[in-house]
């Protein structure tokens, strides 16, 4: 344990060039210098180096995972010559806040406890709303049948394998659903949801079939304790079992990304991630639906609150607190390495947006209506027993939204930028004739904080942009709604007697007389057309 502290005391791999110098390149003789006899590497030094590699691998892995969820594209430069901080010959920059936290966690970790990184989606205003998206685990299993080595060749091999595993981690982090979500959230100006990360040590007692792990419980753990309990009885009292299935939902996927076998133990990197994105909040606070089709974990719709346009509830109005840069500015206590309180929001760079939690009390009273075009009606859970769950025709929904939107004309341009990508409709949903679909769940009471699912597939409105553009002029859909509302409800309201000026396309009485008198000629013509149309049947 203390070894860890000593290692973390160093700033970086100042040894790096020295180490590569130590690595005899093997082919001065074709048989290779596998035994590394001349290198002067003792068993102890080999073991020490590998321990150090494992620690720095952990630090860098945490950086890679968390940086990939900040919602920004990353670019680092290739350098022909490594510098002191370029571990594993990869230019992975260190986010200092993340580095600090990880170091603290490692300090409190005893051997074989895996480090877990939790990526979750949380509502800014409702801290009980939390959807855990991913759980990354970095484990180092010191097996019992190790064969210590003094071979620099082997040690170098281990270093290279770790480098390869880090590269894989870089690639895989971009291929998961949470990456897309992080990019979308960072583009969206809606501050309701943010991605949070948490790094903690866990105790994995199930080495075979990995279905979860034990996590030390915050309440029972004395604050400021520097080391976790050692014997299992004590452990049993002070931890909770985190089951992947319950935390990540049914259909979660588990993946072992890779393993590095060293003479002193096996390092492995694992991931469990959610595929079903349904978020249901504390019901007293109002319904919140984040709907995605189960088969595609992509989030194509963004949640906005039904009173999103209400001036009095705007987060900007309630600002006066700091942004969400650091969890520590809030009133919740922070304990290192353990529990939820260490959760940090993923905010690239310095605090921004001013999206502080609204201090207005959340009330709900309201009627809830099933979204018109949600693909699976079971996704909607009625919140209020008195809710009127009659299916509403789209026209009425539009009317309600028009009423709301007319009242909040000013806010719309600022807050109305929604993620209006062209998206395919859900499989069972109906579509309007122009292949546009709008689903609205609205509240009649404007002051409620229930959520409105706005799914804009506004293809005609999209400014020809690709999905990466993200923003759309929000006045076009609203204009369209207005026009729809103003459209005549029934045909009777249309003028029945067009005047001569308006009837350019209509058949006049004179025309009719001509047609009737020459009907025989017209019939012959049509018959001729039919007969030439029917080509004689071909031989085959």
């Amino acid at each position: 344990m203390t070894m860890a502290t000593a290692i973390l005391g160093s700033d970086g791999p100042e040894h790096l060039d020295g180490d590569s110098d130590r690595f005899d390149k093997p082919c001065s003789s074709p048989s290779g210098s596998g035994s590394g006899g001349g290198s002067g590497y003792s068993d102890y030094e080999g073991g020490k180096d590998i321990e150090r590699y494992v620690k720095f691998f952990t630090l860098k892995s945490v950086q890679v995972v968390i940086q990939s969820r900040l919602g920004k594209k990353v670019k680092t430069d290739s350098k022909p010559f490594s510098t002191g901080t370029d571990w594993f010959n990869l230019n992975i920059e260190d986010n200092l806040e993340v580095l600090e936290q990880t170091k603290e966690v490692l300090k409190s970790q005893s051997s074989e406890i895996p480090i877990v990184i939790e990526i979750s989606l949380q509502s800014v205003t409702d801290t009980n709303t939390k959807l855990v998206l991913e759980l990354w685990s970095i484990l180092y299993d010191r097996g019992s049948d190790n064969s210590p080595t003094n071979s620099s060749r082997v040690i170098y091999n281990v270093y290279n394998r770790m480098s390869l595993l880090l590269k894989s981690l870089l690639c895989v982090t971009r291929s998961l659903p949470a990456y897309k979500l992080s990019r979308k959230l960072s583009l969206s100006e809606d501050d309701e949801f943010k991605l949070y990360y948490n790094v903690f040590s866990a105790i994995s007692l199930f080495k075979g079939d990995r279905t979860g792990f034990f996590k030390p419980k915050l309440k029972d753990f004395p604050q400021g304790a520097s080391s976790p309990p050692k014997d299992t009885a004590e452990v049993g009292m002070l931890q909770e079992y985190i089951d992947y299935g319950s935390v990540l939902g049914n259909g979660y996927k588990f993946n072992q990304l890779g393993k590095v076998v060293t003479p002193y133990g096996t390092l492995s990197l694992e991931l469990a991630y959610r595929t079903k994105m349904e978020l249901s909040t504390n019901f007293s606070q109002g319904a919140c639906q984040l709907v995605g089709t189960p088969s595609t974990p992509n989030i194509n719709k963004l949640m906005i609150k039904s009173d999103h346009y209400a001036v009095e509830n705007s987060p900007l109005e309630n600002a006066g607190q700091k942004g969400l840069g650091r969890q520590r500015n809030r009133s919740t206590p922070v304990t290192f390495g353990l529990g939820r309180e260490n959760i940090k929001p993923l905010v690239p760079g310095s605090p921004n947006y001013g999206g502080s939690p609204s201090s207005s009390p959340v009330t709900t009273n309201k009627k809830h209506f099933a979204a018109a075009f949600v693909d699976d009606s079971t996704l909607f859970s009625p919140i209020d027993e008195e809710a009127d769950l009659d299916d509403m025709p789209l026209g009425n929904l539009l009317k309600k939204s028009m009423m709301m939107q007319k009242n909040h004309q000013n806010q719309r341009n600022e807050n109305g930028k929604m993620d209006a990508q062209a998206c395919p409709p859900d499989q069972n949903s109906k579509t309007l004739t122009n292949e546009e679909t709008v689903a609205l769940v609205t509240e009649q009471d404007e002051s409620s904080n229930d959520f409105v699912l706005v799914d804009l597939k506004a293809m005609p409105f999209a400014g020809g942009g690709s999905s990466s553009s993200g923003t759309v002029d929000s006045s076009d859909p609203i204009q369209f709604f207005q026009e729809v509302q103003q459209a005549p409800v029934s045909l009777e309201s249309l003028p029945t007697n067009p005047t001569g000026d308006e009837s350019g396309n209509l058949i006049t009485d004179d025309d009719l007389k001509t047609f009737e008198s020459e009907i025989i000629i017209f019939d012959d013509f049509v018959k001729k057309l039919i007969s030439t149309d029917q080509s004689p049947p071909s031989g085959d």
Partner: protein, 224 residues
């Protein structure tokens, strides 16, 4: 010597080919690239550092990581666009109107042979992508295909990572005199394993490929 092989099959629209191939090949090359070697006295060497960058795709829903090396990106673009042109060529059509082709990324070692023969190329890992072009008429289907392909290619990237991390053969780090037999040292900032990219389409072979075929036969007789 047997090369490891892996094949991926995709059905894409015309304009998606470049991105699918670039994503897969860049992901592979990222794993198969080391920092630049600098040999010192007594045969010791130091290794440079590789940077990486995120690349967003425009025609499929995906972002991938590649080496931060403009020279490598340029090389890849060159090969991919040649393949793209070949597969889109109007003469490339089978009888039932299907257009397809394949492109391979092959890692190889060179082996010096006595004069007068040229060095042998011994592949140790071959990755092949087979593409079949389909035409999509409706916008909805196009959007669905975009997302579906994005997910599919993403899954392949995860598969690539798994394959890469298995304990398996990699060429040994060579002495300075032999580094060009294992690595491509032409890049200033990175050092990938020696690789080459070849493609073929379903079009009937043109006369110019006869020379290539003869050369290939000649090479293969030398490589036991």
């Amino acid at each position: 010597m047997n090369a490891r092989t892996q094949t991926f099959d995709f059905t894409t629209e015309c304009h998606q080919i470049s991105e699918v191939v670039s994503c897969i090949f860049h992901s592979i090359l990222f794993h198969r690239t080391l920092g630049k070697f600098h040999y010192r006295q007594e045969g010791r060497y130091s290794i440079g550092t590789i940077g990486y960058e995120d690349i967003d795709c425009d025609f499929i829903d995906l972002t991938y990581v590649r080496c931060a090396s403009s020279a490598l990106a340029k090389t890849m673009n060159h090969y991919v666009s040649a393949f793209d042109q070949a597969i889109r060529d109007p003469s490339n059509m089978t009888e039932n109107g299907v257009r397809s082709g394949q492109i391979s990324l092959e890692f190889y070692n060179k082996k010096k042979v006595n004069w007068p023969f040229a060095a042998e190329c011994l592949p140790w890992e071959v990755w092949t992508i087979r593409i079949e072009i389909k035409t999509i008429r409706s916008e909805i289907e196009r959007q669905m295909n975009r997302e579906y392909l994005g997910e599919l290619v993403g899954e392949k990237v995860v598969l690539i990572a798994e394959v890469m991390n298995r304990q398996q053969y990699l060429p040994k780090i060579p002495a300075q005199s032999e580094v060009d037999l294992i690595f491509d040292t032409s890049y200033p900032d990175i050092q990938p394993y020696l690789f080459r990219i070849t493609h073929s389409t379903t079009s009937p072979p043109s006369t110019t490929s006869v020379g290539k075929t003869v050369r290939r036969i000649f090479r293969e007789t030398l490589a036991f």
